[in-house]
């Protein structure tokens, strides 16, 4: 069984969050990127997608796991992490200056997956923690003509099909899906394992296979064009409820809420 993990390198969202809160986050002159220097990490949901693939191997299935990402050479660091986690092969679609358009990215990833041939399962994080759209995996499934299942937290092989538990807004749902399938992984899957020492050594000796857009025959198409990023203001007019002890504070708060007409 051949599993492909699509992984994305993102600016650490916690870093962005902290800088934004303290008014230190700035947009550069292009208007489409932050000028603030922040660490790059693997999108946390994609790390969980790798974990989902490794659990299928733990279940005793004979799986080959290929990690796939698009970007410039800085993405090699992310792919080494994927290799160290336990992925067998790492592939980078060379696209150093690609715009952040989910539909363009899906075209690149779809071309790379077709190039790999014989893929049974594509695992993606449910969304990337930079743009939060969750559109790339859906577009990928559509372009490949694969079945599509979102927000999975448990993926098992059952004969020729997958039995998938989903975390829906109403609660757990189970679906059976034919393969090949694109499945997105949600945080309910749990905490991913750490790379082993042996994995890290193997990763250092294992360069990524690089594919160019020309080799893959990626075609132009339409999508969502990012025009600008901006930082919005948060109002901030909190009235702190003082009091001698929690009981007094609680009583004072309830008085305020009654006056507001919300109790």
């Amino acid at each position: 069984m051949h599993i492909v993990i699509c992984a994305k390198q993102v600016i650490d969202p916690d870093g962005v969050n902290s800088y934004a809160l303290w008014g230190q986050l700035e947009v550069d002159e292009s208007g489409r990127a932050f000028s603030t220097e922040l660490p790059l990490i693997i999108n946390a949901y994609d790390d969980q997608a790798i974990e989902a693939a490794l659990r299928l191997r733990d279940d005793g299935h004979d799986v080959t796991i290929t990690a796939l990402s698009a970007g410039g050479e800085d993405v090699n660091q992310l792919l080494r992490h994927c290799k160290a986690m336990g992925c067998d092969e790492i592939v980078r679609v060379d696209d150093p200056d690609g715009p952040p358009d989910a539909f363009r990215t899906a075209r690149l990833l779809a071309a790379a997956i077709r190039d790999l041939g014989d893929v049974d399962l594509v695992l993606c994080g449910r969304q990337s923690s930079d743009y939060d759209q969750g559109t790339t995996p859906a577009a990928l499934a559509e372009m490949l003509g694969y079945a599509y299942v979102t927000v999975a937290f448990d993926v098992r092989v059952e004969g020729e099909r997958l039995r998938i538990k989903r975390a829906t807004p109403l609660g757990e749902e189970q679906v059976l899906a034919s393969m090949p399938t694109v499945v997105t992984i949600s945080n309910e899957l749990g905490i991913p394992r750490y790379p082993t020492g042996r994995g890290m050594i193997a990763a250092r000796r294992h360069p990524a296979t690089v594919k160019t857009l020309e080799e893959l025959g990626v075609e132009d198409g339409d999508g969502a064009e990012l025009l600008e990023l901006y930082i919005h203001e948060v109002a901030g007019e909190c009235e702190f409820i003082e009091g001698d002890d929690p009981a007094a504070q609680a009583a004072a708060l309830l008085g305020k809420l009654e006056a507001e007409g919300v109790l």
């Binding site: 939060d132 109403l170 702190f240």
Partner: protein, 326 residues
């Protein structure tokens, strides 16, 4: 191509709600900017009431895919049916409200139609040449992005609260156009579904009391449930404690959970990471309880108690129980 179409899939028998109404409202708001007609597509089985309501709420024409295999949601079938409705109506833009299954089909539809899709749209901005750009949050709400979907047909997934539901006027009715929706082989079959929620829904609660890591232990989530019950509201949770297993994921409030907008939102032991605030920042009165006076929650809160949630919650429970008991 002209027209803005609101997609309504599997409408509830008792009338249109939440995301469906917002899709009609969003379509009307966009149409007002571009001068295009407002249309609707209703996808489901035995949906004549919803078709009539869409007309009474302003759709000029309603495209209907009514078939037995569309009674329950299936991403494959809904994308196919919506594609047929878009082909028949020749619209430029598809508008979809936030619902349980939106993420499962809206971006697929955008890819299928070729114009792409932006999800979680909080604002639509007209541009100089009669078109428009859309705004959505990025980095869990820390910043905003403006996008243009230049090609058509394109798909816009709305964030709750973008547009009010259009008023219902029994004097209006739409032209109804049947759309062919043949069943195809299902690539994915639901074998076990969560029970249809019968009680009150978190998204519609007037009061929500949420807990975060400041609760310190899973069993302290009982305090959240008790205070919520005393206030006639519902409990909510931060993603952090859902990941810890202290609360079920159905109770998660935030970007990847529920988006709520109650009259009163109490955040107890929640720091106020933007991920969480995306789910509650439009609440009318927000109360923060946190030991850290610099916690971000106090930037969003109307009232704050700088203290330990585990000390304040029992007092709130005691006082509200006395009130409830008269």
């Amino acid at each position: 191509m002209s027209g803005i179409i609101a997609i309504i899939s599997q409408p509830p028998a008792e009338g249109l709600t939440g995301g469906d109404l917002e899709a009609l409202g969003g379509a009307a708001a966009l149409a007002a900017q571009t001068g295009e007609p407002v249309l609707a597509a209703v996808i489901g089985h035995s949906v004549s009431d919803a078709v009539a309501e869409a007309g009474e709420r302003g759709a000029e024409r309603v495209y209907v895919a009514d078939a037995e295999h569309l009674a329950a949601f299936s991403g494959d079938a809904v994308v196919d049916a919506a594609e047929s409705a878009v082909a028949a109506s020749e619209v430029s833009t598809v508008v979809i409200g936030r619902g349980t299954n939106t993420l499962e089909f809206a971006p697929r539809l955008g890819a299928r139609l070729g114009g792409g899709c932006v999800m979680g749209v909080t604002e639509v901005r007209p541009d100089a040449d009669g078109g428009f750009a859309v705004v959505a949050s990025v980095y869990g709400g820390s910043a905003r992005a403006v996008y243009r979907l230049a090609a058509t047909p394109r798909v816009i997934g709305l964030s709750p609260g973008l547009a009010p539901a259009p008023d219902r006027d029994a004097g209006r009715s739409a032209e109804v156009v049947a759309v062919d929706a043949p069943a195809s082989a299902e690539e994915r079959v639901v074998v076990d579904q969560p029970a249809e929620a019968t009680g009150p829904r978190l998204e519609e609660a007037n009061v929500v009391v949420s807990g975060g890591r400041g609760l310190q232990r899973g069993d302290n989530f009982a305090l959240i449930r008790e205070l919520a019950a005393n206030l006639g509201g519902m409990p909510g949770a931060s993603r952090a404690i859902v990941d810890e297993g202290w609360a079920p994921s159905e109770e998660q409030v935030g970007l990847t959970g529920k988006i709520v907008s109650p009259d009163l939102y109490v955040a107890a032991g929640i720091s106020g990471a933007s991920q969480h605030m995306m789910g509650c920042s439009t609440s009318r009165v927000l109360v923060g309880i946190n030991t850290d006076r610099d916690a971000p929650i106090f930037r969003y809160a109307r009232y704050g108690i700088n203290g330990d949630a585990l000390e304040v919650l029992p007092e709130l429970i005691r006082l509200t129980r006395e009130r409830a008991g008269g």
